[in-house]
Symmetry: C2
Amino acid sequence: MDYREELEPVLGDDKLARKPAEDNENRGKYNGRRIANDLNSIYSTDLLPARDGEEATKQFLQELVNILLAYICKSMKPGSKVLDFHHPHQLKEGLEGFSLDLPDRPENLEQLLVDCQDTLKYGVKTGHPRFFNQLSSGLDIVGLAGEWLTSTANTNLITYEISPVFLLMEEVLLQKMCGIIGWSEEEGDGVFSPGGTMSNLYSVLLARFHRFPEVKTKGMNGLPRLVLFTSEHSHYSVKSSAAVLGIGIDNIILVKCDERGKMLPAELESSIASAKAKGLVPFYVNATAGTTVYGAFDPLNSIADICARHGLWMHVDAAWGGGLLLSSRHRGKLQGIERASSVTWNPHKMMGVPLQCSAILVKKKGLLQSCNQLNAEYLFQPDKQYDVSYDTGDKSIQCGRHVDVFKLWLMWKAKGSEGFGAQVNHCLENAEYLYCKIKSRPDFELVFNSKPEHSNVCFWYLPHSLRSMSPGPERDRRLHAVAPKIKARMMEGGQTMVGYQPLGDKANFFRCVFSNPATQREDVDFLLNEIARLGHDL
Amino acid sequence: MDYREELEPVLGDDKLARKPAEDNENRGKYNGRRIANDLNSIYSTDLLPARDGEEATKQFLQELVNILLAYICKSMKPGSKVLDFHHPHQLKEGLEGFSLDLPDRPENLEQLLVDCQDTLKYGVKTGHPRFFNQLSSGLDIVGLAGEWLTSTANTNLITYEISPVFLLMEEVLLQKMCGIIGWSEEEGDGVFSPGGTMSNLYSVLLARFHRFPEVKTKGMNGLPRLVLFTSEHSHYSVKSSAAVLGIGIDNIILVKCDERGKMLPAELESSIASAKAKGLVPFYVNATAGTTVYGAFDPLNSIADICARHGLWMHVDAAWGGGLLLSSRHRGKLQGIERASSVTWNPHKMMGVPLQCSAILVKKKGLLQSCNQLNAEYLFQPDKQYDVSYDTGDKSIQCGRHVDVFKLWLMWKAKGSEGFGAQVNHCLENAEYLYCKIKSRPDFELVFNSKPEHSNVCFWYLPHSLRSMSPGPERDRRLHAVAPKIKARMMEGGQTMVGYQPLGDKANFFRCVFSNPATQREDVDFLLNEIARLGHDL
């Protein structure tokens, strides 16, 4: 196995900076050198299951792992770039020989490794401590190990027969999460789904079935006009669910929020009353625990009171905020969540689990099964030799499902509940630090002036030219153009990434979110200074 | 980096058979020995992004990779076991110290590696050449490399901003697949979704929106009673879609098939006529290209004629059969697919791509976008610096999506279209070999006597006691019990795995499917001999 010694240098950190294919001549020469066993003349058909394919398989995968390890180490360095931006047309033209085209004839293994390096090179380092662009960020090493194992096991979360360990892990995780929400042992059920939007869709589906079980067989035709309630600041997945499920977006009633982005219970109450007065049939309320933009927590107990009074299904979209339940310091912000009929909770957001990992948790046992089961005979044979209640695939609307549970399970082993709590606390401390910094600087302005409840901080950068302008439509118009211009320059520079958006009548503002434990205070400082550097002349 | 030399033995093939923790005393000693750098006293908090965490990170991931490489090599050996079966209660009790419980306090890295080994040990080797249990099987090494890279890149398929390379790869793949279907350059759109069931759901959603665009805003309330058509042998995801979308399972009209499992066009025609006569509104027909159990191909051209005549959306569920399009020898079986309005095609089935990888392809450009877009401002800002038509996340009903495209892209580079074709041919040759073997043996009986069109072969095993019985309810009753008993013994023995099910009035029969290129004729022989060995005394 000489190739290992030969590959050793690749593990050095800045070797990847020496991009393999600086020009087309070098194409196919991974890192500019030839490899001992000559992957240049080996093809995928030489890998396992080919007879004698073991050595080639190990060599190829080991080479790939070396590339990945170098990438990981580089991603975590604050001074390295977050991205190397190119426009779509540039990437499509085949930068430095990186061709996206799909061939008729096979390429050799060395070329594949070059393709892998190029793919990483032109991508975005979401694990970088200065990537603040999405609710999901960071690269948890144990979670990553979990993903590597999951893809090696390559099975389907559907029957105990083919996923014995993973199905039991799913059960253990769901029970743990239901317990943390505060449901009793007789309560609590759930399923992992492909993302928070799908989990929220499950919640509306379940609420409708719970109220009108005949909808599964008869459809919406005989039903009265159903309406559901969610706040102006809630995630657009509630709209999407209404569109998909045949309820219709117009039948969503958006409830007003306070200036902080929290749903106003009095507004919910009056919206329900006015819907009823019009002959509409309310059946579902979505409360958000951690809104996407402001990071606001709706007042769950007040909303639960209203839902109880009107007999409505209360869903809590804690996709973003669920992680706070693991912090004794912050879990009070979700008080009342135990009164929900269902909860969406995405460990791939605040808990730092690699994408994707989202759970829909349901208080009432058995409802998922009765809502979704179709008893396909080729999968769910009743005459198996084991306890078929573990064939839980029929609870989902997906048939087979990707195994999203193992990485979470392994991370839980690695950190313990306490470790997750510490991670959440660290992210929220960063948010508070950013909030204080912004308050103290004249060139930044908060979108709303109160301490962050979650890790979202929303703010404007004010270039010199705007600082002395008095508020009004002209200032707003000019302010609106600032964030996109800074973002464009930021992406060209590639040192950091943060998102922006308008909201209601508010001009484009930046939203910084923290979910990456790698981020430190100096990275927060860097972000503000970088924005100021990029925008001062605007 | 001494640990590498020290770890070398782990790469030997049967080292994993020496299970690390034979008893509780050995818990925490990975493979019964201590590791140089002592992962026993290192925790996840010592890994990156911890300061000086680089070495520990490389060591931990390298150890994990060694475990995975050993597992992969072992999985591919025909003589090794496919599974080591335990009942749910046994696994939950903590076999040999393997505890599924989630701790409050962290566990050390060595313990995590032991947990990883145990997870693999008690799982099912779906890449094993004698695993015939699911439509998805095999372990493609290049696909696996693709998954390892994907999870390391850990990003979300939603905006070009955070997934530039992967979104372009999705576009390239979708264009390629649309071209292979036979759509012109002006036609063809699509999105990768989390599995065939979701892809089929997309098709019904699109068909409904195409006919009644107001459903997105108004819901199903004002609509007439919609009905859809699919064959008795089609996948249950069509039912699931009707339940989820608010159409209702009762509004699915199941069309009769011939004895081979193909939809009878005359039956479709008369079903449509009779639905119309009742005042129902047909809008969608699902034709299957490769049914789940029999592997049958519906006559697509005849069905397309009927759909054209009645103005109905024609969907082709080619989740299982789509791969045959890459074989010049077999693609004729899908003749007429180019006339479909939409197609489901799962590369994770017949093309051997690791789970999950499924595409919904749509003939009409722009329809996915208009059906599903909600223009969330925090994601799809119109004032970005790049061509925002590449922010294709709004075409999906999922918001963020797992990156399922890279592994397929990399496999396509590795094999070329030709390599996929050869792989499909090999699997279908195995099926034909099995079919011929069964015909020649008195102890096996085919469920229907015609050469397999896909790689499905359905058959009964007849123990001595049944061979001389005349057909009738008593023989059926006894035959029905045979397959479950053999399957139970098969799983206890762990040498192979194949599925069984009843269908209509047919007693439980085995369904063998081939999608694993690792499978050779001796494995097919083994399956039959093993079934006979396990069942001869029944």
